[in-house]
Amino acid sequence: MNRSRAVMTSARLSRRGFIVVGGGGLLLAGCGGGKGVGDSQSEGVGGFSGEDYAGPALTLAYWNGFTGGDGPTMQELVKNFMAEHDNISIKNNTIEWSDFYQRLPAAAQAGKGPDVGVMHLDQIATNAARSVLAPVDDLAEALGLSESDFAPAVWTPGIYQDQRYSIPLDVHTIAMYYNKEHFEKAGIKEAPTDAASLDEACKALQQAGYAKPFWMPNQWPAHLMFLSLLWQFGGEPYAEDGSAATYDSEAGVEALSWMREQVEKGYSPDNVDIDSQYVAFKNGENSITWDGIWQINDLKESGIDYGIASLPVIGDNAAAWANSHNFFMTEQAAGDEDRANAAKTFIGWMSEQSAAWSGAGMIPALNAAREEADFTDSVQYAIVDQVEALHFLPAVPGLGDVQAPTLEVAVNEAVLGQKSPDEALSQQASNATKMMQENLEKFGS
């Protein structure tokens, strides 16, 4: 809300001025021009040999969103890179992810964007379609990387229209956290692994005096839980070609019904507010919560005695939502051969630090790195089996923009008990399909 602006304008509105402003805006309409921004595919892409950049010293602008417990680990890596490369210095710019995706296209458009950066895998197609990113096929080739070197399914969503736009650094997913002290008091020996054992655990916890052991969120990360369950029940959220939303399938209804059931069975209170399931977990108010593995460092700091386990298999198969931090190079850097090569040198070096990046609470994307002690000694190693069951959203431009006002709303309404899962999902899936059709047209040309 922009109070001061409202005050400014109104204070200056005399009787006459008021009408002039109102009418003038209309009268003057029609002039002013839209500038079409010419976006030529830049030169200098391709032909990276894999040799470190050896040209004159330069500074690369590097953007990322590691604002949380992952920040210090990234800063350490950047410092190490600069120590090894005298001619490349890195100017780091860390921005909250939500702002990051708003600012990046605008900054890139204005030529003030980064040379290199990190973004989520599900944003690659969108930003490739927006000509923010430059292809890095030659880099992948020079590094000798191919699909088989990585965790399943993380490689292909980085390809948009037959060109590769990113190099994966990690995979991250959601896991089940539980309060060890509560489990001990309730006599639960092992973390639940399926619907039945989770149900038993909740009952045992209630008997041990923890009345509401498993709070069911209706906002973040509720949609990530829903997607995981949808995949577990054998559904798919979206058609691979981006033509339709398909989460109103039977699998989707089963998934969402299960989420609402946790409230109806009394394992979760009604109306859990934003983040409060997690805050409650940190304070020992509840016993089980599903959340991102990136919370590990935060939980460590909170001092709570917690355990972490793979998501229980509620549906027919093990499955979990996942995303991945990916390095990219921008069109802006691609326009200058020196910058492009320096950027690729940086990305190549970074991708080899996959194991050290475990310190940020993530799972290395490179298979080889998951064998290293940096990862095998980490907390998140406990859910290493889940890596085989990870699912990523398909590489469809604009999908993220579709999901927030549709799927997330349906999950919210159903978990709150305002609509039946069936009704909420079919309504929002049909909205989403319409938006996806519009996007196909928009990004198609």
Partner: protein, 319 residues
Amino acid sequence: MTTRQLAGPEAEQVAVAPRPAKARGDGLVAALFLAPYLVLFTAFVLAPIVLGLWISLHNWDFTLPGKPFVGFDNYVDLFTPGSTSSGPFWNAMQATGLFTVLSVPLLIVVPLAVAMVMNEKFRGRNVFRTIYFAPYVLGVAVVGVMWRFLLDRNIGAVNSYLDALGLPGDTAWLTSIPAAWVALVGVTVWWTLGFNAVIYIAGLQDIPAELYDAARVDGAGRWGSFRHVTLPGLKPVTMFVTLITIIASANMFGQSFIMTNGAPGRETQTAIFWIAETGLQNFQMGQAAAASWILTLALIVLSLVVYAGFRARGAMDES
């Protein structure tokens, strides 16, 4: 008050009939003084308004090379039931309207009451004035996050204290209707009443004490002086307060963005919230610009109605 000064006789004179003798010099000086603001006004208000109209006629995503001209399609979409934008947009407009209807009367009356009290002479008056104004100093992010924690359904302080007092302590302040509107309106009133109160206090101090004396001589009690001296004296100020409060309420965004994130469902998503999401997050700027224009026109009409209403009641007579 500013409104009154600008609408006053001097302003009329400058605009309408500069005196012939010193006309040239006066005009130049006036232009020089007006220029800086006019430049800023043109660059940051007028130009964006016009550009916004231009954008609203296109399928405008500034990150894509093509921005096809679509005529009034964006407007037509907003008025076509069943299109991807009309449902959420009118839902947001309805939420905005509801919020405005609920919050504006409170923000006109409560600050007036506060101002009346603060205008009396008593010990610690300045301290109380500061206390009432203090929340306004906070940014919406601080206010929103703080109240989100306080109003949490399960672990918030408000419900906890209500419970301790034996009152129902299980209201879902942020995730159910109508409680969410109570929370959003309540927080907004708490947050911004100080600002309106300050304007009222200034207005109250402008009312000559003789008028009250005269009223007392004529046998008016406290209520009589309030009705026949205070209220008429405050008319121009009340009009100003009403107008800016309507505009501010219709532009509500931060509170619902932070406190409820539009929940439950999209019930508390306001117009600006939807416009920001559509234009700045999803980059559908044409659609968002069209929606902004509809909101703007609605506000202009509403403001004119309010203005005419006050004028009919003689709010402008004094000057």
